[in-house]
Assembly symmetry: C2
Homo-oligomer: 425 residues x 2
Amino acid sequence: MDSKRTNRRELLKGGAALAGGVTLGELAASQAQAHDHPMTPGSENASPMILGSKELVEYGQRSRYVTSVRIQHPPGGRPSPDLFGKVFHVASPLQDSVGVITPSSLHYVATTRGSYMPDIDPKLHTLTIHGLVDQPLTLTMDDLKRFPSVTRLHFIECAGNRHTPQQKTVQETHGMTSCAEWTGVPLSTLLKECGLKGSATWFVAEGAEEVKGASSMPISKAMDDCLIAYGMNGEALRPQQGFPVRIIPPGFEGIFHTKYLRRIKVVDRYYMNYNDFGHLRPDPKELALSEQIGPKSVITYPSGGQQLPGRGFYEISGLAWSGGGAIRTVEVSTDGGKKWNLAELKTTPQRMAHVRFGYPWTWDGNATEILSRATDEIGQVQALREQIAQWWNVPVERNYRVPGLDNSVMPWKIAKDGGVTNGLA
Amino acid sequence: MDSKRTNRRELLKGGAALAGGVTLGELAASQAQAHDHPMTPGSENASPMILGSKELVEYGQRSRYVTSVRIQHPPGGRPSPDLFGKVFHVASPLQDSVGVITPSSLHYVATTRGSYMPDIDPKLHTLTIHGLVDQPLTLTMDDLKRFPSVTRLHFIECAGNRHTPQQKTVQETHGMTSCAEWTGVPLSTLLKECGLKGSATWFVAEGAEEVKGASSMPISKAMDDCLIAYGMNGEALRPQQGFPVRIIPPGFEGIFHTKYLRRIKVVDRYYMNYNDFGHLRPDPKELALSEQIGPKSVITYPSGGQQLPGRGFYEISGLAWSGGGAIRTVEVSTDGGKKWNLAELKTTPQRMAHVRFGYPWTWDGNATEILSRATDEIGQVQALREQIAQWWNVPVERNYRVPGLDNSVMPWKIAKDGGVTNGLA
């Protein structure tokens, strides 16, 4: 696709320059319309118009034809009174995603309890750092914004993402992850300002939610790359993302990304908190202090519930990410896992951030299965479901529930009629 | 700020590790509050709450405390009936910006005529490529999305940005530029599919706006890096940005980024169009076929209308960009241009994209002037206003109107009381 390396002669031939030849089954019919549009001013059908308004001048809105929305997660798992009262897990429409930025209005949301969000006046909000420090610090939002800032792309993912593998769409199976451009102050900068005592080995980050959203993390993570974030995708955090400030410990499970952050206590041991419910299991095999999201990828197009209009060329598109660093490679199989092919990384891989991958595919119209597999910069490879079953010594059934975090390879079945369904259902 | 290179001993000392020492004048007072927040559950004042709703589950909104909005450009320049009827230039609130992504709702908007936007049903929209090609092509949006896609960060800037230099705020002086993650199909891919005839040297991109927004561009630009974009910041283009599809010729003036794109005609010469009004001037000195935005930067904090609360540490923050490629360096002066210091680039410089820069500054409380100057990867340096006056042989007055595009260095005056004003006013 690099036009600079293609000489003019090749360009003039057209079409052939594309790997595999782009043959879109639907094109022939629509080409007949080409001459309905003469280059004569005024001869076109006028579009209906949207009237400008003060509100649209100040803050724009999407088209009424764009209806992609978030959904409750898991779908239908809770009755509606619960949804707005207690449980509040909301999945992002990955099937409609492009690029790597998740629009803030569509970023996944999870709270530990309740959909009632703190409605915080940033002028009254403070962040206190105390505990095993030489000098405790209480910062207003204005204070915080005076420190040197950084801006980085990072994903967040709920540990519960994909906890029931048979769901229909990629929004239902993988929608509890999103990626945004975060701006804030490195936690290391603030801790240096306070001065850490020698016994400081852990810290607890506490938010203003009903159950405080407290999480314990090692002080080494704080000094490495934790961000005290007040900006998201170029504006202030949204209330559902912890306005006015949250912590981003890149690559750690979503529950560690404490929202409405009001206190960091530096301590000398792991503190058990409400948020640890996600790590407690009756089965000792499953009991573990997990933190880091494993390497993961999923094909977003074509994915469950979508329909291929016919055989021909498609670009398989998807997202890959890892808590272990940047994604190094993504492989795609279009024959159920027999052959794996290197995908193209469409965006620059960044540490603990989604990367968009693409793979050119000419579908021959036969039933098949498509899969993707990610490898991160420290060499971790996303495992097949069968491999994970072997590690845990459970029966190799494709739809068993993986203990703990499920980062296994996701298969999508393509039927002869072009319908796409979950390969595990 | 690199914690890995700082040994534990240095960290424990605190504060000293920061260049210049972060001394926030306001901190001493607020530290006294540190003990108002004991780590005892239930003892905090409860925040007011936002009740979850079906609408907020589906599509989130910003906090009611975040009120940053776009404004008419130039401010007060037109009476209100005009604003919603004919003129429609809307500037982005750069003074509140963080990072490099402009939220789609706050992206600047310019149309050639009228605030009535086409309200296009994407199912009925087609893009036709014709003229000097072997095989004309008409693509539906579904067809277009089957081609291999790319995702890139690019700024857009109106050539009229900063055309009256004395305005008060950075939104008023520089708000007609924004930056987004665009997803779409390289125009080169589509032209290869059609096959270019040997005489193809220019193309005209036409949109569905009242005056069609047609622009002529060299075919070499099409084959190099033009994008036929349907995605913006992870979702569909917004109507104000050309939903369902626009052309992005990276680094070219905004007027070439035709919205509501419905036709590309490949031709053998420059075609004069309505959009060329921006390039026609009665003065032959000013008459030029300009396309590319020059290297440019502006300090967004502290900027006009803002107020420094007192002397002490601040991070000067701003944006830099160039139509000539990626930004190589940004320099900042805090003494009215006598000494220039290298700023830190806070995000990875990308070709024809905003980059966020920062410079640590301890203000001594005296009146001064702060400025920034960008250099791009091909060595172009943003000029001082005095240099430009010399080139054009006009009197060296700081507030004269630069002919054509104004990419001169922007000075902000800091008064003794911390007030920030336009250095050209």
